[in-house]
């Protein structure tokens, strides 16, 4: 053995404390979040609130055209100006938040549901099932996600459900890998062996013994996948394969306003800032959650 490992082993899992401490109070968890992450959480809640309340706080309809003249600069009536069709940019950005949060949240939930389930099964099964499953996922993961997403969404025709399912399933291989690694850390633990000795079924062991211990990993994975989904869904919409028009969508807004940048930058800059801020917020929060749950580094 060489003295002192030069490269730290990758941390495969973010285990929660066993048994009694499992149901940790939410307040306790919040207290352990780094300040930046707490700020990010606050901002994210504000974004969720703003898009949920869009029908009440948005000054105009997001899809009604010529509520102002085309490409008006920001004014007191239209705080972020108007787009090429004279629609209110602020209203479209607010409603676009709904599209972004709902689509990426659903996609990430799908990823964690399928990837988490597969990861638990593969991790607990081991052997040939595990080997074959991981190979198949590895191969699927080796196609660049933008390209595979383009092919599938292009073939099926862009619609909100198609985009959610495609983006959600595309991230399954990497989620499976992470959850499987986390689950593997527990399959040889005493409490799992004890459950096995009691004659509990595989499903019961995966559900009652392993799942609670990988809950932290699942939460972090959900956060990571949400940020990733915002980017990929935004890119697809930008390329013209997102929610069909006139649905207010940040990626699509950037694409639509591109041709008129010389006349007004606001129809492009506002959604671009929104998408950048959302991903940054989610990433800072993810980082904080991982730190709060993981061992001190």
């Amino acid at each position: 053995m060489s003295p002192g490992k030069r490269f730290a082993e990758p941390v495969a899992t973010v285990p929660l404390a066993p048994a009694g401490a499992r149901r940790r109070a939410v307040g306790d968890f919040l207290a352990r979040l780094p300040p930046a992450a707490r700020l990010a959480l606050l901002l994210l809640l504000a974004a969720v609130a703003a898009s949920a309340l869009a029908p009440w706080i948005a000054p105009f309809s997001p899809i009604e055209i010529f509520v102002g003249s085309p490409l008006e600069p920001p004014s007191l009536v239209h705080l972020l100006g108007t787009d090429t069709l004279g629609r209110d940019v602020l209203s479209r950005v607010l409603y676009g938040g709904r599209t972004a949060l709902l689509m990426s949240g659903s996609a990430a939930a799908l990823t964690v549901l399928v990837g988490g389930g597969l990861g638990l099964v593969l991790g607990y099964s081991g052997g040939l099932v595990d080997e074959i499953g991981m190979r198949v996922l590895e191969i699927v993961a080796s196609i660049p996600s933008v390209i595979l997403a383009l092919l599938v969404v292009g073939a099926l025709g862009p619609s909100i459900p198609v985009v959610i399912v495609t983006v959600g399933l595309l991230a399954v291989p990497s989620s499976t890998r992470v959850v499987r690694a986390a689950a593997l850390a527990f399959v040889a633990e005493d409490f799992v062996l004890a459950a096995k000795a009691r004659g509990e079924s595989r499903f019961a062991i995966a559900w009652h013994e392993i799942l609670p211990n990988v809950a932290g990993t699942l939460l972090v994975e959900f956060a990571i996948r949400t940020g990733w989904a915002v980017i990929l869904i935004g890119a697809l919409a930008f390329l013209g394969f997102g929610a069909p028009p006139p649905t207010p969508d940040w990626g699509a807004m950037i694409n639509e306003g591109r041709g008129a940048l010389d006349a007004s930058i606001w129809p492009v800059v506002a959604p671009a800032l929104a998408i950048a801020a959302l991903v940054l917020t989610v990433n800072v929060l993810t980082d904080g959650i991982a730190r709060a749950l993981g061992p001190a580094r």
Binding site: R6, P144, L151, A276
Partner: protein, 329 residues
């Protein structure tokens, strides 16, 4: 004696591991070709109908279906397609009616040029920033760069591209907003057009390598052998260049190769931002017009490159890490 023996037995598993990885990559490439074929051909919509448009009579669709051999089962068509690809025949574009190979030649060169330029800047730049961060660990430079890196990592590549256009083309008027290098009159004009796309891709990629380089460099700087070198009174520059850097390079090279693989997808989106006449733009157009042979060929080329670069990352890691271990023990 014992050392020689351990080296001999040590070399063999590494070689076997590398061969195994190459074989696996070939298998994935075949499976990928099948996935691409399936995604484009088996999913809904009739290729012949799409090629002729909605107005086409049932008769002409039937004739084209026959010509295209669409009556054969999917597996037969897949075999025929793959056989043709291996022979170098990529088919004929359904939109331009030109051979796909001819249509792709120019965009392929453009995309390769863009990718090569991006990497030529990416590799030295991100290594330099990463090492600088490690040397000034937790100092103002390190903190500022780390924060910048986190921001750059969060902003999607196409959004970075848009911001660059807004600032440098629309507001300042320094650089062209579109990179139509096929319409450039001179080399310098073409190069000028490439500045923003190269910047956008670099901004998106740098973060990851900087992080990896910084972290592995910090570990190496804290390791015993660098400490010994310092105690021996070697000049800091020499410790850095001939001791620390070579050891810290392993994870950095892996990160660079993974980044190059990421670039394959990133380039598709960024080409669309700047209307760059490369494979990415052609792919997006192909998907829009359901030009199946074009889509299949480009997806195959890009995915193949992606697999090859991931393979390179794996092999680099495999070859570099045992060497690092034997050096330190």
């Amino acid at each position: 004696m014992a050392e020689v023996a351990s080296r001999l037995s040590g070399a063999d598993p590494v070689l076997r591991l590398v061969l195994r990885r190459i074989l696996l990559s070939l298998v994935s490439f075949f499976v990928i070709s099948a996935v691409i074929f399936a995604a484009v051909e088996i999913l809904p919509g009739d290729t012949a109908q799409r090629a002729l448009g909605r107005e086409a009579t049932a008769e002409s669709v039937a004739i084209l279906r026959n010509e295209m051999g669409l009556h054969d089962p999917a597996i037969v068509r897949y075999g025929r397609w793959l056989g043709n690809v291996v022979k170098g025949d990529l088919g004929v574009s359904m939109v331009s009616k030109r051979p796909v190979a001819d249509t792709l030649a120019q965009p392929l060169r453009h995309t390769f040029l863009l990718g090569a330029l991006v990497l030529a800047i990416h590799i030295p730049l991100s290594l330099f920033i990463g090492v600088s961060c490690a040397l000034t660990r937790d100092g103002p430079l390190d903190l500022a760069l780390s924060a910048l890196v986190l921001v750059a990592m969060s902003v999607p590549d196409f959004v970075i591209g848009i911001f660059l256009i807004v600032v440098f083309s629309v507001e300042l008027g320094w650089l062209p907003p579109l990179a139509l290098i096929d319409q450039a009159n001179s080399w310098t004009e073409a190069l000028w057009m490439l500045v923003l796309p190269v910047l956008a891709l670099n901004a998106a990629m740098t973060a990851y390598v900087v992080r990896q380089t910084r972290d592995s460099m910090i570990e190496v700087l804290n390791s015993d052998f660098v400490r010994v070198a310092r105690l021996r009174g070697l000049p800091p520059v020499r410790i850095l260049l001939s001791h620390a850097l070579p050891s810290a390079l392993g994870p950095a090279i892996n990160a660079i190769a993974l980044n190059a693989a990421w670039l394959v997808g990133g380039i598709v989106v960024v080409e669309a931002v700047f209307n760059y006449p490369g494979l990415g733009r052609l792919l997006v157009e192909g998907v829009r017009f359901h030009d199946v042979p074009i889509i299949q060929a480009i997806a195959l080329i890009l995915s193949g490159t992606h697999v090859a670069l991931n393979l390179a990352a794996d092999i680099a890691t495999t070859l570099l890490s045992p060497k690092l271990r034997t050096q330190t023990s």
